[in-house]
Amino acid sequence: MTLLSLQDLRVTIDTPDGPATLLDGVSFELAAGQSLGVVGESGCGKSMTALAVMGLLPAAARAQGQILFEGRDLLALDEDALCRVRGRRIAMVFQEPMTALNPVKTIGDQVAEGLRWHLGLGRGAAEARALTLLQRVGLPAPRFSPQLYPHQLSGGQRQRVVIAMALACEPALLIADEPTTALDVTSQAEILDLIAEVTAELGMALMLITHDLAVVWQNTAAMLVMYAGCVVERGATAEVFARMAHPYTRGLLAASPHGLDADLPSGHRLATIPGQVPDPHQRPPGCIFAGRCRRAADACLPRPPAERTLVPGHGVACLFPHDDEAPA
């Protein structure tokens, strides 16, 4: 059953230099209980997609298209209705655990806040539930009292608190936006494992946003590759990794510092993708990646390439996709 369906989502933002296009026709579907990785460079629009789903776009941004969630178009809902979705049905884990928590409120209060707000629990009931949630994310009392303040915890421990907050109302969808980027390596694996466990346990769908291909490979069943506000490749994670049909996807792999860690054989040379992301104020009419693509030809320039299906479920928006196996 489809839980979340984006149809031709376009987001523009007003800047002093005129409107800039941040998302240019993003569409995808995510079924209940499934996991989806969204990967791309910083600025490719993956966080903007998450904020659009949350209804928390910056004030200057305009969204068009449809975001269907549990059968309702979130873009058509008023603010009150959105508030009943946020935190209740869709929850989010942010990149920076150091700043995502309010420094002057106890972690117990912050976990309990959503419970009291959405479920109308009393103080005692909310506190009891917060205690259970903190325990579930690996912060058991009495060592981690709910009376602690965020500054008394490490980065990984704070991210656990953020996850507990997100789980509080048992939402149907968890969006994790670069949840481990700010953490040290050991905490990274623990946090990803925790997210995988709790989403499986509660039957939550997971949208995992990252710039790290290895994280997608290890944690998601399906994935999207985004570039400059467009989806350039999508499919089952194993399928996409086996083929890496879009030149950008291959560039991303070549440019990732530690390849895919132990699970994929590494040993390739670290590369950079030459050129620059196009100016969001003046996007070229044709393929958005053509300016940096070694395979680009004249046919790429007049209009954007339509997405073609390579095998069922694996699509790529490219006229000249790679058809050999992905380099390991």
């Binding site: 009943r84 942010f94 309010n102 008394q152 915890l153």
Partner: protein, 318 residues
């Protein structure tokens, strides 16, 4: 926390010591013969001698300083030359006016400034924001004593609803006394409120951009709930510091405003003591007022630690 308090306490003591030393040097050593200043050029030699003896001017400066500081610490502030009563009695008499006046002014300015500042921040660049900012520009630019005169013109001269000055005294009952303090308190509060509203606005704007406000919104809190529960609560921490700093301006304002309204408070006392060259009273009042500024700021530092848990305890958990 204990270390923090001790540090602040040490700084407080040092500042007070230096302040008392400077006041003493300026008021007693620099002028040469304070008795001559107090009595003027036409004083008779025997009155001068009597005053010198009473002030202990025959003793060395260091001894006089120690006696003075000792007196301050034990509550013996000496005897006013012109009033003939102890300075302590004078202060006790008049603080009953000055303290309530200052408190009313603080309450008024806070009650006005914080909602206005939050409103302006929440409606950034909208009409309400522009209006509040315009009001604060005026509030800062208006001299408080002139504002006081305008209040008198309006409420006492034209409408005749409130007295133009004087103090009914608390013996006359709570309301009559409060009525006489109302216009002075408003005049004191306006410039404070203007500054405080600006500080509140910029502080709230800053916290509204913080990640934890976005987290609160992601939890499903409405814009208003996120504003009040997360942004405002955190924004008030620096605002409290500014309120502490404003206390010294409030004192300065009291000296002027008590004179505008002919209120027999500490501010007017210090002013009259100058006119009568009663150096004993001036010296004691200056150090008392300075001490109150230092002590208030010390208390604000402590309050800061109470409001911001990051300043309280050690790390935990790691």
């Amino acid at each position: 926390m204990a270390l923090f308090v001790l540090q602040r306490l040490a700084a407080l003591v040092v500042t007070l010591l230096v302040a008392s030393l400077v006041v003493f040097l300026v008021m007693e050593v620099l002028p040469g013969d304070p008795a001559a200043i107090m009595l003027g050029v036409n004083a008779r030699e025997d009155t001068l001698a009597a005053l010198r003896a009473e002030m202990g001017l025959d003793k060395p400066a260091l001894e006089r300083y120690l006696i003075w500081v000792g007196g301050l610490l034990t509550g013996d502030l000496g005897r006013s030359y012109t009033y003939g009563v102890t300075v302590w009695e004078l202060v006790g008499e008049r603080i009953g006016l000055s303290l309530p006046l200052a408190l009313i002014a603080i309450v008024l300015s806070t009650a006005l400034a914080i909602p206005l500042g939050v409103l302006a921040a929440a409606k950034r660049n909208k009409a309400a924001d522009v209006g509040v900012m315009g009001f604060t520009q005026l509030g800062i630019a208006i001299p408080n004593f002139w504002f006081a005169m305008l209040l008198i013109l309006l409420f006492a001269v034209y409408w005749r609803v409130l007295p133009a000055g004087g103090f009914a005294g608390w013996d006359a009952g709570f309301w009559p006394a409060l009525q006489t303090l109302l216009l002075p308190a408003v005049a004191l509060a306006l410039p404070q409120a203007a500054i405080l509203a600006r500080v509140t606005r910029s502080s709230v704007l800053e916290t509204l951009g913080e990640d934890y406000v976005r987290t609160a919104r992601a939890k499903g809190l409405s814009r208003r709930a996120a504003l009040w529960r997360h942004a405002v609560r955190n924004a008030l921490i620096p605002v409290v510091t500014i309120m502490g700093l404003q206390f010294s301006f409030l004192l300065a304002g009291t000296i002027i405003i008590e004179n505008v309204f002919y209120l027999p408070g500490l501010g007017r006392l210090i002013f009259q003591a100058i006119a009568q060259r009663d150096l004993i009273v001036v010296k004691d009042l200056v150090i008392l007022l300075a001490a109150s500024v230092v002590v208030v700021n010390f208390l604000v530092d402590l309050l800061y630690a109470v409001l911001d848990p990051r300043l309280r305890g050690a790390r935990h958990g790691l």
